[in-house]
Symmetry: D2
Subunit: 351 residues, 4 copies
Amino acid sequence: MGVEYTTCKKKICVGIVNVTGYAGVELARLLCHHPNVEITSVSGRSTAGKKLGEIFPHLAHLNLSVTAELGEVDFAFSALPHKESSSVVPTLLNSGVRVVDISADFRLKDSALYQEWYNFEHPAPELLTEAVYGLPELYRSDIAKARLVANPGCYPTSAILGLAPLLKAGITGSSIIIDSKSGISGAGRTLNLGAHYCEANESVSAYALGGHRHLPEIEQELACLMRGVRPNVTFVPHLIPMTRGILTTLYAQPGEQAESIDSSSLKMLFQDFYKDEPFVRVVDAPPQSKHTCGCNICLIYPTIDARTKRIIVISTIDNLVKGASGQAIQNMNIMLGIPETTGLEAAAVYP
Amino acid sequence: MGVEYTTCKKKICVGIVNVTGYAGVELARLLCHHPNVEITSVSGRSTAGKKLGEIFPHLAHLNLSVTAELGEVDFAFSALPHKESSSVVPTLLNSGVRVVDISADFRLKDSALYQEWYNFEHPAPELLTEAVYGLPELYRSDIAKARLVANPGCYPTSAILGLAPLLKAGITGSSIIIDSKSGISGAGRTLNLGAHYCEANESVSAYALGGHRHLPEIEQELACLMRGVRPNVTFVPHLIPMTRGILTTLYAQPGEQAESIDSSSLKMLFQDFYKDEPFVRVVDAPPQSKHTCGCNICLIYPTIDARTKRIIVISTIDNLVKGASGQAIQNMNIMLGIPETTGLEAAAVYP
Amino acid sequence: MGVEYTTCKKKICVGIVNVTGYAGVELARLLCHHPNVEITSVSGRSTAGKKLGEIFPHLAHLNLSVTAELGEVDFAFSALPHKESSSVVPTLLNSGVRVVDISADFRLKDSALYQEWYNFEHPAPELLTEAVYGLPELYRSDIAKARLVANPGCYPTSAILGLAPLLKAGITGSSIIIDSKSGISGAGRTLNLGAHYCEANESVSAYALGGHRHLPEIEQELACLMRGVRPNVTFVPHLIPMTRGILTTLYAQPGEQAESIDSSSLKMLFQDFYKDEPFVRVVDAPPQSKHTCGCNICLIYPTIDARTKRIIVISTIDNLVKGASGQAIQNMNIMLGIPETTGLEAAAVYP
Amino acid sequence: MGVEYTTCKKKICVGIVNVTGYAGVELARLLCHHPNVEITSVSGRSTAGKKLGEIFPHLAHLNLSVTAELGEVDFAFSALPHKESSSVVPTLLNSGVRVVDISADFRLKDSALYQEWYNFEHPAPELLTEAVYGLPELYRSDIAKARLVANPGCYPTSAILGLAPLLKAGITGSSIIIDSKSGISGAGRTLNLGAHYCEANESVSAYALGGHRHLPEIEQELACLMRGVRPNVTFVPHLIPMTRGILTTLYAQPGEQAESIDSSSLKMLFQDFYKDEPFVRVVDAPPQSKHTCGCNICLIYPTIDARTKRIIVISTIDNLVKGASGQAIQNMNIMLGIPETTGLEAAAVYP
């Protein structure tokens, strides 16, 4: 990785843009004991000037102050909201800093989709081609070489990992239903009525039935896996009363040539696909989201509905870790040539 | 209703068999201010001999003692677990008492299904023909005349009410996916690891992927609605960390003759179907389960996924009320010729 | 109650000022099936012009629209925040409407305390003398005759009901510790970080250690009970992760003449004090707040710490019912000469 | 530390007796990435023969099997329930293994207290003298030399750490009230109605008002700090609906010589007392238990109630970490001469 990473007490100096959202503060939590890097700069907007420990007491030991602009760093994470990130990331890249962007701003290859789904004209469409979609299980070698990695959304991570073995093997048709259940932290730290305690507690609801912003991202990646066949995807996200975790239930029809597939051969297909992956585990029983809490694992349970022959896949992650900041660090590790699991070894916090 | 209901201070004397499960205690809560009935006998097993208020302090004012066997009553609810109910209900009927059975024991018309799904030989298969499936929205006039009403399961109630308008109108094919999210009270009051606080809290999981016991009940009723066409149903229930509530997300394909149906005509279809129903409300936005808490309402939101033309229906109830004890009282009201909403008028407890 | 209450289909027409906070919407929930009154006008601020059912789907059946100003009514509840209520209530009174005010604005007799604790000069100090503190267990006859009732705060209700028998009997010294645990709905419906789901969930904290605004109210009422002796009160409120409920743990020292009091005579003292109260129940075991959910009951468990001879009293209510809107309706019933429990008979929603 | 710790791939081989309770599984979670030790044996009772990952999917990577008896190890933790541990620990010690016992069985110096509080005759009273009470902040040097460390209870840890600076400085009288709020994991993994999800959720209650088993342990340690003065302690524990965390609110009266103490000098006293402690942090604002989730920190906020001059101290820990397994590992580190924070560096899992 060369000279530029050796200046800061021999550790790589990393910065976090917008440390005060849940993705930003989760990056700080996970990075603070990473043996190869040191967080040397964190920026925020309304909180600039405060000590990080004033806002987040669990990070008081980091002894960092929030600044309005990021200081000089070797590597940066952008945890800004969509639209805002697209105007900050190019500047970082121009100053020679490699970036993992946690927002949606560099995930979509077709710049027109930003107008359609996010209501803004993308200010740097040329970077959309360059940016690598940061799902290591699909794009590891490209990530290693990338200047800019677009970290996947939480729902897309759970859905794509649950579907990739099926689509690569070509054993399903294009008709796919994605029913996701997410904890409330996915709604972010910005106040909103839907995330007000008494509104969200003891309740479940579906939302974004007119089309969630993660849908074009899912479609793009599924189309790649299906070698250009346009998938016919219905995606319904739900909010459930817990802080962390996503569980996605996937429904697909076996294609004609796979009608005789059974649960055990399906499981072998998944195990084989993920056999070298440190953060995906194919499990023998329907997983609980709790068993991913605070850690970077994705648990996947594929099965066949014996009566209808439908394929059902259950996939679960911690939305803030494998669905955001943990995966961002996994991408950083790959980009820096550090062992991929570094700093991400912790087991889930159960119970 | 005649002479037999006039002995007990002019109110109808009702009994609850197995008052100590969540369905039983919810019956007691809802009935205790019903103007036309009086709970005069409650039975339990391990708690026989105790005052009801010792076990359930919120019902201390009822001043009832739990007995091993039900005393003489005009009308009875059985809130026993499946298998046990089938041996108690015939005795009640033979003594001239009309019964609403909350267990599954009289829901299925085909007695062989009890062996297949519940592992017991049904002791009174002749009653399976007589028993009326207690979904008032479909079987109101039969319920009025019944001696024995089989109260629907919680998942089936949410699923069938969400699908009935579609199937009656014949606008969907037979391929149906039912993805349900249930609070933990559905698992009952009997201790089990899955309902242990620290295991269930902050977690979501799918279960019964090999086939949930509510599936044959759903299939039976959908087949009736489809005039004998066998539906091709996948049903995946999930547990989510809250006490009460079920939200069911239904996915169906419009049939050939309905491909051009849009969301507003779909909504009109539902509104028309339920226009006279006191406990079903077709709503304009995806509902929250919280808005049914403690009350007998079913909220339904039908829509079309514009991109894929799939029909999506969201249906939500309180699993202990419209999904169990509230519906049982609604059935009792119909059987007794009392206005159907009597004792069930309370609005949801929000927030 | 005379002519003025007979105009509206023979029911008393009531209005709710600021229906959109949690106290306001809880009033609407509880009143909507009250047999003697009809909600005919509800006002709100930012939501004026909307149907009530758009904001609160569980109240859609009320078919009311939110207006900026309250229409003509026979009786009014003000559920405005403190300071705002004090400028609206006098106008209502002047138009001949009797009022229960749920805010703190008429609870304190000493107007200087508003400057000290609420940072505003009270605009109608003359009403502080007239207003009756709306704790029926202490002031029932005054409430019956009042034009203006100041509904007690949630913490004060739980604390005063737990202490009144002790203080009236003079068996404790003035040293009192009040340790309260409240659900999050006490923080209101206005968005704030402390009530953001992911901040409040899975966490407990103490707050307002410099002095909570309910303290002067508690002190005022305890001083009355102690016949002018100034109590030496420490009050520490805590937020715990649930929606509804307050449990208050009270610690006091027996006075010299009561050193030999034991738990059973203490219990008899409480039972005797509350023997005619419909909404206070002295219980035999430490109560769970859950057994008050949605209902107007206060459960009290007094005991003696055998090792230290300290008196411990546990008191629990639903903060939105007996701690706010239920008690307000209890006060209205008393003011209108209606049986006190009317509309408040529902048992707690358990589990 | 010598030869015996060098056999197992140069790491110290540790065993966990009763890995299947919450303290046991938390030990496994925390130890699995400890750089100096390796878990080589885990025992359980009903689960003997199973893979650890079958019971606890988040620990599948450990690739351990549960055995009925512990295998040969260098160091052992006993996570058995009280009474059972006292019969297993002597055997371990006799085989030359040093032990941290998480149960209560070696915490009390007076063997008669086991009869009084735990209903059994202690089988090894001679070990009660030898065992060191494992609160490093008070007994670090003794722990370093101990064969047997009795790991403190969760409530005592939070209470003693909050009181020690006061009692050592002699600035309080003996009258102390301890009001603790605990998450449900403190009730253990064994099924019981109080920890059944629907009973514990959305509820708060006090319990053990007749005397909690942690009281004699607290009294013993406070008496030591007060140099033999018998403290006059009332301790009331409460259960609140969350999985992890204890927050303890302590009330004390300043002694005569300390009546003029103010909040800032009180804070300095605490800061000075804990200035070298890696796991105690004196904070500037009332802490949230959430900021300790999953980590070994104790946050303490001392203040003076300005109106009454009472001292209030808020202390919060994760009951399973600093209140059990984290502190056990801290003790192990001290016993083994390993830096005390090894394996315990992770920041709290927030949000």
